[in-house]
């Protein structure tokens, strides 16, 4: 077998390991779905009526449709914490030292974490979207638009998860790892996740418009609800690819050095 096929086999072995671990430790997955659902319910039923009016009429029903992309990205940011903790915990265990003394593709240990996490999060998101439907979410997307939205979400999840893996590996303890991705959870709020950016004061609006989460949310909203996308799609793809690439190299480098 060539080096490449061996590396692919190591990757799939590590992905299977990670999926089994996720099944054995389901509280993390439950939390992954529960947190965004609670935020969704609070925003729709507590703030939704008033915020919906501010969007230009439509009340609570209009707000459900507006807020779903923001909730999905918040779910990704929340999951990043779980991934960082899991990686940091893994690194403190002897099994990683064992992997390092074996003739295997070194990146496969990390790839296992990322692919496992991405699969877990996409399933979690499907559950969140299902509950959003129950709360009145009515997207008008075609099959192609759903497919494009799924592709963008997958790319975004992969990027943030690689970042979480790098942060988890840089953290000296699992406790520190749980704090590192915290700022990510704020980004949907400091962007177009919950209210349009034009309603913000100048400095905040400038930050909200140029931070990476906003173009992703705008593109998702456009694909699902038919709002204008403009160049958000290209900017979102560029951000996600950039974050994924830098984080991948950072994580791999950290793993090889440690």
């Amino acid at each position: 077998m060539s080096t490449l096929t061996l590396a692919m086999r190591d990757n799939s072995t590590m992905v299977r390991r990670q999926l089994k671990r996720l099944l054995r430790y389901p509280s993390m997955t439950v939390q992954l779905v529960a947190t965004p659902v609670i935020i969704l319910i609070v925003f729709v039923y507590v703030f939704g009526g008033t915020l919906g009016e501010g969007l230009g009429g439509g009340g609570r029903d209009a707000y459900v449709n507006y807020v779903v992309p923001g909730i999905l990205l918040m779910a990704v940011a929340t999951a990043a914490t779980g991934t960082a903790v899991m990686v940091a915990t893994d690194m403190t265990e002897g099994i990683i030292a064992r992997f390092r003394t074996m003739r295997i593709s070194r990146a496969s240990v990390l790839t296992g974490h990322v692919v496992g996490s991405v699969i877990q999060q996409l399933l979690g998101m499907a559950a969140v979207i299902g509950i959003a439907f129950a709360l009145g979410f009515r997207p008008n997307a075609t099959a192609i638009e759903w497919l494009a939205a799924t592709a963008l979400l997958t790319l975004f999840v992969a990027a943030i998860t690689w970042l979480a893996v790098a942060l988890g590996m840089k953290s000296p303890t699992p406790e520190a790892a749980s704090n590192a991705p915290m700022p990510l959870i704020l980004l949907p709020f400091l962007g177009s996740g919950f209210v349009p950016t034009d309603s913000m004061p100048t400095v905040l609006r400038w930050f909200a418009e140029y931070q990476p989460f906003t173009p992703v949310m705008e593109t998702l909203r456009g694909l699902l609800m038919g709002t204008p996308i403009g160049n958000s799609g290209a900017i979102a793809t560029a951000w996600c690819t950039g974050i994924a690439l830098v984080s991948y190299l950072w994580a791999k480098n950290t793993f090889n050095k440690a």
Partner: protein
Amino acid sequence: MTNLAIAATGLRKSYRDKNGEKVVLDGVDLAVPEGTIFSLLGPNGAGKTTTVQILSTLIGADGGTVQVAGHDLARQPDDVRGAIGVTGQYSAVDKLLTGEENLLLMADLKHLSRKDGKRKAAELLERFDLVDAARKPAGTYSGGMQRRLDLAMTLVGDPRLIFLDEPTTGLDPRSRRSMWQIVRELVASGVTIFLTTQYLEEADQLADRIALLDHGRLIAEGTADELKRLIPGGHVSLRFADDNALKNALGVLGRGFVDPSDDDRLTLQVPSDGDVASLRELLTQLDAAGIEPAHLSVHTPDLDDVFLTLTGQKQEITR
């Protein structure tokens, strides 16, 4: 000449921390012939784990040349990894996976076919007495079971050279003995074992050759018998009720000296190989002179003596 599984010369490693440079290994030479058990013996902090980490490609050395399983450690780390198995001091099992899944994970990473992997896992579960626990998560195993699973995982893929870093630390005496038995069986099948331990008895029981590591330097190397010969031989300790009796005994026996470690100066050390005949003769002599020792103990040299004597000498020098 036999082939060497490990050949290291001038191995050096130091760490930098707040207090400056800390030398962990200070020019260590190792020669481990294939098919033998080599034991690196030393107290905590001597540099044993660092040595294993370097030899098993986990960390790099600062200096020295090393050949492991015929491959240059610095230039062909992947070839070294392909030939070795490592069981570290801390349990290297995936606690969320079952024992069987842990073994199958190793089989996959060793690129065995599915069929061979399953067969190997079943065989190792059987051999390490883990069949009943095979489908339980490894996190629920006792310390001894985790250590057995750990070693079983190391054996998937049949490594020719196995590093065991303090394999019995924290195990109860029974588990320790079963681990020793496993190690003996392994070496009987032609595998080379590099064992670190802080238990002298363990090195004495298992190792063909023993190296004593202290403060990052090898202070002695040889077979257990060779090492025991490095220090003064056995003696009989006789403690007396009073100074008079001691002086009389010394006069009657004509040999021996007062044990300086006894603050009362009432203990006489008489050189002796400790066998029954010489003991009987000794007691007969004392009996004839009407001297009754209050306490008697026989002392044969063991690796403890070697170790304490050699490390003690070193401390004298540095003082």
